[in-house]
């Protein structure tokens, strides 16, 4: 097979300690990037450097070290705003991750603006993070949760959305890229339909920000969430983007220090967004790490990343189709580098274990998307790509899958 690749992943791997000769992990073919990505030196060092030289708490002035820490923290916010093409840094709220960001919206915006009889639309392919908050909200408020079903090849059909939208629809919650099927959803078109019906749209970008350009203004989404750790950054930090007016209208989530202007026993005045949503000491070191991660991504270029991962995805699709009895879920060929599959009657857990003994790290199970799992007939094995993977990794995966078939041949 002759494919030409527009990027040399070996160059990229040099930037990661995980892949270095002295690493305990050097031999691991890491194909579990949808769960979390590895971290480049630049991110690890930015965080260490912050702890060693600039550590202080933010915002509660008094000394130069605190001013420096605040500056770094706000610079990270400005960087995220620029990365997403938000209108201003005040549209960026730091959270622990995608899950907390969506919980914030469902609790604070949802309980204020979703009433009994209103409707919320979620897709059948959502991760629990973009599902459970809406299920709970619907139950609490007496609203209706409507499920936008997927097609048999794992896509969303916009005509189906038209049929679901009514004047009672308040929000459409949809993932940009499915963490199981690899489907890339047409989020701009979805936002446009939602808006036409008078509803808002929340985009779960956990699986997309590190893999293709995400532009909140072009998409015109109302809310967007992602996690640092799936975008080459540390755990403990994520982002909620929301349009300024929505943040102003939404009541606070956590309450405590830093998000309030006046506290009297009989009177509370909240701070302006984004501070209003950031009670307590924020993830400062983590914000610095996320800043470095976004710099890492943009140094390669998101167009270049998208292009290379598309090439590698094409290669992987071709090679996966060589494996007898392999059933791949999700659309073909137009999709992101996330491959959930089953292999004959071999249980995904057994596949993952065989692969693990051959140092190929994939994941098996329901991938925190149980309703989708039911639709697909249960657990699946999942391999997922990042910018440091290459054809060798795919080849190792394919070899290991053949090995699994040999061991379980008679099953």
């Amino acid at each position: 097979m002759t494919t030409t690749f527009t990027l040399d992943a070996r160059e990229i791997r040099r930037q990661f300690p995980f892949f270095q000769p002295h690493s305990e992990m050097r031999s691991v073919v890491y194909l579990d990037n949808a769960a979390t990505t590895q971290k480049p030196y630049a991110v690890i060092e930015a965080v260490s450097n912050f702890w060693a030289h600039h550590n202080a708490n933010v915002h509660r002035g008094g000394h130069g070290a605190g001013a420096k820490a605040s500056e770094l923290y706000e610079a990270a916010r400005a960087r995220v705003a620029q990365f997403l093409n938000a209108r201003e840094p005040a549209e960026i709220v730091f959270t622990r991750g995608t899950t907390e960001a969506i919980n914030l919206v469902a609790s604070s915006w949802g309980e204020a603006f979703v009433k009994a009889g209103d409707e919320i639309i979620v897709t059948e392919m959502e991760h629990h993070a973009n599902l459970l908050p809406w299920m709970r909200l619907a139950e609490k408020q007496g609203a209706h949760l409507k499920v936008w079903r997927i097609t048999d090849d794992g896509r969303l059909n916009l005509d189906d959305l038209e049929r679901l939208l009514t004047e009672r629809t308040r929000l459409v919650a949809v993932s940009h890229i499915s963490n199981v099927l690899g489907t890339v959803n047409p989020v701009a078109a979805i936002c446009q339909r939602a808006h036409a019906a008078g509803a808002l749209c929340l985009v779960d970008a956990a699986q997309s920000v590190a893999h293709l350009p995400v532009d909140v203004r072009a998409t015109d989404c109302d809310f967007l969430a992602f996690s640092g750790h799936k975008a080459y950054g540390p755990t403990g930090i994520g982002v909620l983007y929301a349009k300024r007016a929505l943040l102003e209208a939404t009541p606070p989530y956590h309450v405590g220090g830093g998000m309030v202007q006046i506290v009297r026993w009989d009177r509370l005045v909240w701070a302006e967004p984004p501070a209003k949503f950031e009670a307590g000491t924020p993830p400062i070191g983590e914000a610095v790490g996320l800043h470095a991660a976004l710099d890492f991504i943009d140094a390669i270029g998101r167009d270049a990343i998208e292009r290379y991962e598309r090439e590698l995805t094409a290669y992987a699709l071709e090679r996966l189709q060589e494996v007898p009895d392999l059933r791949l879920h999700g659309p073909i060929p137009d999709r992101a580098g996330i491959f959930a599959f089953s292999l004959g009657e071999i249980h995904p857990h057994d596949i993952a274990t065989v692969l693990d003994t051959r140092d190929v790290a994939i994941r098996s199970g329901l991938h925190c998307a149980h309703p989708l799992g039911e639709r697909l007939g249960g657990a699946t094995a999942r391999a997922s790509l990042a910018i440091y993977n290459d054809t060798q990794h795919i080849d190792a995966l394919i070899d290991a899958l053949h090995e699994a078939r040999r061991i379980f041949g008679r099953v």
């Binding site: 274990t353 003994t357 329901l366 249960g378 657990a379 099953v411």
Partner: protein, 142 residues
């Protein structure tokens, strides 16, 4: 023997392919479900006890080779055991799969093959699923 062969011993694959004790019991019975949410492994035990002994025991479920083979071995081993013997065996198996086994493995029969799991921390939950379920079922018996 590579660790992989040690995990997927012929005897385990045999229990997986031809499970013993698969099925349901008629009431009276105790039913206990074991569930592993991250992978969807499921084992449902049906158990009838009389005079301090396990009179009959069956399992249903779906899941990986380890969880299903382990359940199969469990039903085979538990037939006719006193409740005290059953409890002791559960503890012995839990220790075995965690690599903390002591004493004589020979008395365990087929079950000894589960020892291969000890090299696979992520699979310990699979191997113990049925045994934990039985443990809970026995608690209902007091």
């Amino acid at each position: 023997m590579t660790t992989l062969n040690e995990l997927y011993q012929e005897i385990i694959l045999d229990h997986y392919r031809q499970p013993r004790g698969r099925g349901e019991l008629e009431p009276p019975k105790i039913t206990q479900e074991g569930f592993n949410p991250s992978c969807g492994d499921e084992v449902i035990l049906d158990l009838r006890a009389r005079d301090g002994r396990i009179e009959d025991i069956r399992f249903r479920g779906r899941g990986c080779s380890i969880s299903q083979a382990s359940a199969s071995m469990l039903t085979e081993a538990m037939q006719g055991k006193t409740l005290d013997e059953a409890r002791a065996l559960i503890q012995q198996v839990l220790a075995l799969v965690k690599g903390e086994a002591e004493g004589d493995l020979d008395t365990l029969g087929d079950i000894a093959a589960l020892a291969g799991v000890r090299h696979f921390p992520v699979r310990v939950k699979c191997a113990t699923l049925a045994w934990h379920a039985l443990d809970e079922a026995l608690e209902q018996l007091g």
